[in-house]
Amino acid sequence: MIHLPLAHLLSEPVGVSHYVMVGAVLFTCGVLCMATKRNALGVLMGIELVLNGANLNFIAFGSHVLRNDVNSLGLDGQLMAMFVIVLAAAEAAVLLAIALNFYNNHNSIDVDRADELLG
């Protein structure tokens, strides 16, 4: 019954859509982080949030606990999430190196200082 959601909030199992909603929140926070943080490292943190939002989706879609039908992503979900974690680590390494390189050249970590190339 959806009439009184609070009454059943804790007594009913959650579904994939709950996970997707959490993922959406993380994704949005991450994107906004990227768009508002002036500290390049803050932007990197935003990227991590974005990737985690997507990862949560993969896990949810592949979970047989949340959803047990034919169209479930199954183990593919977990495998993909795992590779995403690895790729995210690689990406973080490169982005950090690039940020440090930027820092060395500009003596600042403020992405708003990256404004020489425009037009």
Partner: protein, 820 residues
């Protein structure tokens, strides 16, 4: 028809309606002679409207409810109806049998119409006409088949409107007794400067104010009780004239007289459309009457508009009658091969005419209810005294338009409803955005009124009749409250400008907290899904639910689904911006703050009374099952409970309103409404309460947007350019033509001949041929240079554009996919 009840109700309401007229007449003749400094006029008018209110409430509780008990609020039985929608004709016998189970006990004998309740008792697709009492008091005249009468059409909506109008008018009257005390002695109008540099001094006009107020109430009640479109039109115009008087109450002020003129003229534009609609109606149906006229035995003598268009034989579905089809074939498509009703599959016969009639009538409502594009008059109507604004914005005038739309509802085709919905949607969004930047406290409220009226129209257009009328009722209370609070503030600090207020919470607590109640009511504050909440919570959620239900059945009209949600956000933002700027924070103008004071009791008591209603009008009364929606359900127009499909636009589906209470929709819509409203309040708090974001910085960032909104989308300028300037031009040209052209025509012709050759050379060779090439190159070059500016070099903006690009592309492709 139950004769006894009918005569009782009609008598009661007639007195409630006529008493203000009496008051008007009394003050007209006696007001001046009782002396300019006496409060006689005020007391008469207030007393009279109090009597009217008493009569109206007696009519509701003493006569209507005992005769028409309320149904249970649950609509669960409605869902089964859809299955029976195949049934297209109902046998009279079955109809009679159904009737026996009906809840309205008073009129067992009537077989043709007047069924009470709202469809629970019927087991076919569509609901029957609501319980109503129709009759004529006086026949003005009969011209051929055109009969003009003064009559009544009373159903639950009429009674409710009477109670609402008289109640609010009473509050306004009491309030005005205090507010207008300046007018008791000679009045120095500080805003009018005479040629010798002094301010205008004039005798007070206390009595005249109440005289107009009484007339205003009389006219409004006349619109509400009117039994036919012609009578509506008469009182409609009377309302317009009264508003002209009241808005222009400070007639010496240039702005006031201009505003009064503007209100009057803009309304005439709408009325022109209404006249067209009336002509279309009368020429095709031959009547203006809403209800069916019966003789003493209950036999129908003359059929009204509704029963003609939605006959029982056709299961109360809207269908053009033979006369309409004939008229359309004669007027609109004379060449059509006489398509007739017998061809239900591809039947567009008569629909165009009905569409025109509906949209025409609605044009009048556009003007009166200040809908886009005729909304420009309402903010200027702020020039009137605040009690007038309160009355105009809540119970009268603007309510008249929505009321008429609701009253005329059975005759609107789905396509006309779509027009209504679109107009409402545009109004709602445009007005709300303008309210964001306005700094005049009354102006913010004025735009909020327009926006809320847009909500009502949207709801009606989407098929949410109860939702729309419910919002009309609740809005009347909280908007009246808000306006009177703002009046109290203005009374206290003597300015309209919010940038000079701030921190007034401590100086005028009653005003502040009653206004907070109003703000919470207008944003629809309440605990999502389960309630309880302020009155606005119920009505706004009903509208949003209907919008979602509509959006689900019409995926291609998604904008109508999202507009109320977006509107809820903006509403919450600007209302709390207003409240914070006025009452919270530090005083911005210490001088005004020091002189501020709470208003006298005669003004604050009405505030408290209204705030009680603003909280509770949406609630269900304990023990009894009395609540506003149930009462409105009793008046649900005939044939609106089925999911209907457009005829001219077959993909258009108007969903059954009860479907919108389905848990899935209620849940999603409720949360969406709550979260948007909450985030609106949050944003307002961030900016204006906690000062985390600097409004000036924001203004700087969004400069073009701000000036666009600040100038009210440049509607006034636009209309000035399109309508006013050409008119002026034409008149000037005409006079110029008279004096000059005739004389110089000979000389001119010679000059023209010489000039032509030069022009041909200049235009074709120089400008056109050379200029085309150069011009296009120049334009593309400039465009290219301009496009470079998008590449700002700011990384964070680039990231922002990823998201914007995604969302915009998603929306764009949804649209393109539908069109291709």
């Amino acid at each position: 028809m139950d004769i006894a009840t009918a005569s009782k109700l009609s008598t009661l309401l007639m007195w409630a309606w006529l008493l203000p007229l009496a008051s008007f007449v009394v003050i007209l003749f006696l007001g001046k002679s009782m002396g300019r400094h006496s409060k006689f006029g005020g007391y008469v008018a207030t007393g009279v409207i109090l009597c009217s209110a008493a009569l109206s409430f007696y009519a509701l509780f003493g006569v209507w409810l005992p005769n028409n008990p309320l149904a249970d609020a649950s609509h669960s039985s409605e869902e089964v109806h859809a299955e029976h929608s195949e049934v297209t004709s109902v046998h009279p016998v079955a109809f009679l049998a159904d009737h026996g189970e009906g809840e309205s006990k008073g009129h067992e004998g009537a077989a043709d119409h007047g069924e009470g309740g709202h469809g629970e008792d019927g087991h076919h697709a569509n609901n029957k006409p609501p319980q109503s009492y129709y009759g004529d008091w006086y026949t003005l005249g009969q011209f051929g088949s055109l009969k003009l009468t003064i009559g009544y059409y009373i159903d639950a909506l009429t009674v409710m409107m009477f109670c609402m109008v008289t109640l609010i008018a009473t509050c306004v009257h009491f309030y005005a007794l205090g507010y207008m005390h300046d007018e008791l002695h000679d009045f120095t109008d500080s805003e009018v400067t005479l040629s010798d540099g002094t301010n205008l001094k004039r005798p007070g006009r206390y009595y005249r104010f109440f005289q107009y107020l009484s007339l205003f109430c009389f006219s409004m009640l006349g619109v509400v009780i009117a039994g036919n479109v012609a009578m509506v039109f008469v009182f409609w115009e009377l309302v317009g004239i009264c508003s002209y008087f009241l808005i222009g109450f400070y007639i010496e002020r240039h702005s006031a007289s201009t505003a009064a003129n503007k209100a009057f003229i803009v309304n005439r534009v709408g009325d022109f459309g209404m006249l067209i609609g009336m002509m279309a109606l009368w020429s095709s149906l031959g009547t203006f009457a809403f209800g069916d006229l019966t003789d003493t035995e209950g036999h129908v003598v003359e059929q009204g508009i509704f029963s003609q268009l939605r006959s029982a034989e056709n299961d109360y579905h809207l269908q053009a009658t033979d006369s309409v089809v004939a008229e359309q074939n004669r007027v609109i498509r004379p060449s059509a091969d006489g398509a007739t009703i017998e061809d239900p599959e591809h039947n567009t016969a008569g629909q165009w005419l009905l569409f025109i009639a509906g949209v025409g009538i609605f044009c009048g409502c556009i003007g009166k209810s200040a809908q886009f594009p005729l909304h420009v008059w309402l903010p200027d109507a702020m020039e009137g005294p605040t009690p007038v604004s309160a009355l105009v914005h809540s119970a009268t005038m603007v309510a008249a338009g929505v009321y008429l739309t609701g009253r005329f509802y059975p005759a609107f085709t789905p396509e006309a409803l779509l027009v209504i919905a679109y107009i409402g949607c545009a109004t709602l969004l445009i007005a709300a955005t303008i309210a964001i930047t306005a700094t005049d406290i009354k102006r913010v409220l004025a735009y909020s009124t327009i926006s809320q009226l847009g909500y009502m129209m949207l709801a009606l257009g989407l098929g949410g009749w109860v939702a729309g009328m419910f919002h009309l009722i609740t809005h009347a209370f909280f908007k009246g409250l808000l306006f009177m609070c703002s009046g109290s503030v203005i009374h206290g600090v003597h300015t309209n400008d919010m940038t000079e207020m701030g921190g007034l919470r401590k100086k005028m607590p009653i005003t502040a907290y009653t206004m907070l109640v109003g703000c919470l009511a207008i944003i629809g504050a309440g605990i999502p899904i389960i309630g309880p909440g302020f009155s606005g919570y119920y009505s706004k959620d009903a509208i949003i639910e209907q919008a979602w239900s509509y959006g689900n059945s019409n995926p291609h009209l998604a904008i109508l689904k999202w507009a109320p949600i977006v509107g809820a956000f903006i509403t919450a933002f600007y209302m709390f911006r207003l409240w914070y700027m006025t009452f919270a924070g530090k005083p911005r103008n210490q001088h005004r703050y020091d002189h501020a004071h709470e208003s006298p009791r005669v003004m604050t008591v009405p505030l408290i009374v209204l705030s009680i209603f603003a909280i509770g009008i949406g609630w269900k009364l304990p023990i009894t099952n009395l609540n506003t929606t149930a009462l409105l359900e009793q008046a649900r127009p005939v044939g609106t409970l089925a999911t209907t499909q457009g005829v001219l636009l077959p993909e258009l589906v108007i969903p059954n309103e009860h479907d919108s209470h389905a848990p899935a929709i209620k849940w999603a819509a409720g949360w969406a409404a709550f979260s948007t409203a909450a985030s609106g309040v949050l944003l307002a708090s961030i900016i204006y309460l906690w000062n985390l974001l600097d409004p000036k910085e924001l203004k700087q960032t969004f400069r073009p947007l701000h000036s666009w909104l600040w100038n009210k989308w440049w509607f006034d300028e636009l209309y000035g350019l399109i309508f006013v300037a050409p008119t002026m031009m034409i008149s000037k040209t005409a006079s110029w033509f008279d004096r000059r052209v005739i004389d110089s025509i000979l000389h001119g012709s010679v000059t023209v001949c010489k000039g032509c050759s030069k022009v041909v050379y200049a235009v074709f060779d120089k400008t056109l041929v050379d200029g085309m090439a150069n011009g296009i190159a120049g334009v593309t070059w400039d465009l290219g240079l301009w496009l470079r500016k998008i590449q700002t070099g700011n990384l964070r903006q680039y990231i922002m554009f990823i998201v914007i690009g995604t969302v915009v592309l998603f929306i764009a492709i949804s649209f393109v996919q539908q069109t291709i």
